[in-house]
Homo-oligomer: 361 residues x 2
């Protein structure tokens, strides 16, 4: 019996999400290199094997170590290489096929000097997200970095890696497809420009919204969606998935009710859900609340939404009818706004078949 | 040598924060029952012993178990009692002096029926924060709950417990003191109203801003500040502490620089700092960035601030002069906006003397 905040994982939905993306990649003839930062779990990771996945993406050296220790032998760390961790990178590169991401001459010089084992190397390329990476149009910097990489013995240039994270700021499939198309054109132009000197350049493309709404991966060599393993409230809002595809929900006990303001208090706060938030009708929204039957949540029957979070409290707003049905001691399900951050906080899943699934510590 | 995101803890500052609050409570003749949800660490908890602390506050049954297993024998769970966890509450109550918080007749009935061991019981009282609890002016509900409690064998009524969390929405000492005074008056009036039937009512008062800026605890029997063990960027902003009092900082490696927009990218994201945010000059602010010398951060020499966070990336904005000094591979210190959530994510501290301090898992 569930008695405290518990992250439920519906394995059937999760497998179906994995299968859908794997099939899509297969059909489009691109490599599916899923980002494992969402689930951070050796067991969930192992489920991808049945769908032909043998290479993965992670977001830190620590996570690369964890999955390497769990049998993965082809890993890309899709985060600007941290030169202070060169020695762990070097050790890992001796054991597995390790790829890193660079975006400055300083990093290239330093790592080339320190490393004794070859690492595949991508240039982090920014197609408009504006978080980090070299702007795709900045051919001057690109040429300079490629010149540096050409003279490297241990940094083996592979191609350009892009995460079009600005798809997360959209609210429709059309907007996502526009961003994806613009990213594709920028990356292809860059590849063409460099193709005389580097005829084998590969293009690695990321982000769950793009890969979920599009089937057209022309020009790309691999795709790296991660969140699609679980999806979440935000992805539903963007249009990447249906609510029924979401594979995780936080079970929360009801501890108090406030009829005068139609608010229900659950044990389920910022240390469970994270403070990631959406704005819906100009109101903060920390997750959609659904009924929970045993350990299955009922989709498309929203009871309300999480309007506020403190460390352990979740404050849920409900219409009168839903409010009247909920009792102290009930368990409710919350679809997280951002499943990656919720999973990272919860550190374990309870599968809807009852088993506990552990994660990286 | 620091190579990856690491939560540094300055023990000297921490001890001085504990001592200041303990002295204040002693002088005011109120019990200091610190909230341990901020540090969640048996070792940090043990430091309070030297200042005469022998009773504590926690925010979940799980945390009560952890500290009970680490030698604490007088614990208040300052969160509306979760009736589904009655059996653990009952086991704990057999071993230690356990206090719980209730705010509904349903919870009182259920627990009285299930428990076989006595637990101290507070009524959660809302003096205007509006999160949860019975409104201090709602004498009708209060009388009803007290009547229920009077007939209980195992729920032993102690008094009213209040967390005036609306002090967090202030920006000056005067605003904090106004809220504190209003809370005090409401609680004293309530106590007076009930004193014929319950002559021994105790008043337990919380929140770090109030307890930090005021020395006047007249009328209260105990205070429960928690965050004051570390403080953070938000408490500095509110006026509860000086920047120099903050006892934790996240050390983050610089992985990329963007001169055209004066942004520095560090490894230090939402999974390290949490997404808790302040608004400064109408811009989101996720932490103040300071220089780090070995493992000591230099206060009052801000380099910039964290303007954006994704899962692993921190995006820091800096003025030109600071930007020019920072190099890829440097470690920078970030004062967290909310140290409770940062500590909860990091799951361990590195003391500035080099030792590693573990936390509840």
């Amino acid at each position: 019996m569930l008695t405290q905040p518990t992250l439920l994982l519906d394995k059937a939905k999760c497998l179906s999400n994995i299968e859908r993306m794997a099939q899509k990649a297969l059909k489009a003839n691109v490599t599916f290199r899923p980002h494992f930062k969402t689930h951070q779990s050796a067991e969930v990771g192992s489920w991808f094997r049945a769908y032909g996945v043998d290479c993965i993406t992670v977001s830190s050296v620590k996570m690369a170590l964890y999955f390497a220790n769990n049998g993965w032998t082809d890993i890309t760390i899709a985060f600007p290489a941290n030169i202070l961790e060169w020695s762990t990178i070097n050790e890992l590169a001796a054991k597995i096929n390790l790829n890193i991401v660079v975006e400055s001459a300083e990093t290239i010089h330093y790592l080339e000097k320190q490393l004794t084992n070859p690492v595949g190397t991508y240039i982090k390329t920014d197609t408009g997200y504006g978080r980090t990476g070299v702007a795709a149009e900045d051919y001057g910097t690109m040429q300079q970095l490629l010149k540096e990489l050409k003279s490297c013995k241990n940094l083996i240039f592979i191609g350009f890696l892009c995460h079009a994270g600005h798809t997360y700021n959209t609210q429709s499939r059309d907007e996502i497809l526009t961003i994806m198309e613009s990213s594709r054109q920028q990356l292809l132009a860059l590849k063409t420009f460099m193709s005389n000197d580097f005829p084998l350049i590969q293009l690695s493309y990321g982000d769950t919204p793009s890969c979920s709404v599009s089937d057209n991966f022309e020009g790309f060599d691999e795709i790296r969606p991660g969140n699609c393993v679980f999806y979440d409230d935000m992805q539903t809002r963007i249009g990447s998935c249906h609510q029924d595809d979401i594979a995780v929900a936080l079970a929360c006990p009801v501890v108090a009710k406030h009829p005068e303001r139609l608010e229900v208090i659950v044990h389920g706060g910022a240390v469970h859900l994270s403070k990631d938030v959406m704005s819906i009708n100009n109101q903060p929204h920390f997750g959609t609340v659904l009924p929970l039957m045993e350990n299955k949540w009922l989709v498309n029957q929203p009871l309300g939404y999480v309007a506020k979070l403190s460390q352990e409290h979740g404050i849920i707003k409900m219409p009168q009818q839903a409010f009247d049905k909920v009792k102290i001691g009930d368990m409710l399900a919350v679809l997280p706004v951002h499943s990656c951050l919720t999973a990272n906080l919860m550190k374990a899943y309870q599968s809807t078949d009852g088993s506990v699934i552990s994660m990286m510590v």
